[in-house]
Symmetry: C2
Subunit: 192 residues, 2 copies
Amino acid sequence: MKTETRKDEIIKTAAKLFKEKGYSAVTMRDLASAMGMKAASLYNHIKSKQEILKEIIISLAEEFTEGLALIQKSNISSIRKIEEVVKLHVNITSQNTYGMASLNNDWMHLEEKLDYYLELRANYEQNLRQIVVEGVEQGEIIDENIEIMLFSILSTLRSLYLWIPKKDYLNPEKLSQQLSTVLVKGINKKID
Amino acid sequence: MKTETRKDEIIKTAAKLFKEKGYSAVTMRDLASAMGMKAASLYNHIKSKQEILKEIIISLAEEFTEGLALIQKSNISSIRKIEEVVKLHVNITSQNTYGMASLNNDWMHLEEKLDYYLELRANYEQNLRQIVVEGVEQGEIIDENIEIMLFSILSTLRSLYLWIPKKDYLNPEKLSQQLSTVLVKGINKKID
DNA sequence: CAAGCAAACTAACAACTGTTAGTTTTTTTA
DNA sequence: TAAAAAAACTAACAGTTGTTAGTTTGCTTG
């Protein structure tokens, strides 16, 4: 792992600002000021504002794609796969909560890379759907509306970037485990 | 119910644009163009861009606050209360998916009304927490991490604005019922 | 049909936007 | 320590922003 370049610092700082106000509301002068420099100086390190957003979002999207591919070809039950997906989201989000905000809220400003992002996203959802479908077929998962189950799981996992920075934060392992429990078993008390 | 004023049309159109690109990326000229008029003409109906956002967000936030207050004082079990909260979100979101996007993503641009919004939001979460706490005390809800259960439920309900406009949409009653099932009972198949 | 009014228009503003060009300063390297 | 490279700077640009002022259009009503 190489030491962090100035470009990396800019991207990290930008992600933080993008989370607070959204991509469009952050100006290059805001970003420069947060970096302790003038706006023009940023262009010694980056090509454009656009490029910053692209770097933030695409690298994360590819990380999710690769992570899910690994889970999918592993030889475990569907429920276990879903537990691994929870871990994947918790781990990636823990390492980059700021970037996850852009991934969720600023992807529409991607321009040239928008189609590529949408493709990655559609594939990700399709692969996760596949896991759920197999779980239903094998009798591990209830035969309810698959889209609703998918929506509920993904909504929760995509919102992790809002929750993880809070004070009552657990370590990634505990969070993953407890979140899996809630998503898989629900919240109601079983009658023993 | 009075007939829709020009101001209402502007707010509705703005909400649609805000959902697509976010508040900051929508210009008054974009909005005017979508209304078939010139930007300056908007100011015959509204005070500022800011005011449009305020109207969209605050009215929705108050609707949620009032709805939850009603549920809270009703004489039903905690699980039933949570099912009513699901209905509340599904109903409000069904009637205004565009506005819900602003409520979720653009609240940080509220300026003068920001504190009021944050107060409503904190109260809402506290009241929902109260329902879950009571459910645990009365043995209806599992004794897992309450914040995680709350987070999972709220994340799903707050994302409804993304899901409801999709093609495979159910009517509000069916959606509420199936969503409640997934949130309360989870997705795993019980061993009979 | 004249008066009044709501709602559109044109023109313009000052501030702000992302970005470029050219220059100076600082750090690294030989 | 001199040269080269990296990273900051100042100044400026052309276009865009929300908004105001003043004017014109078109509908409603007495």
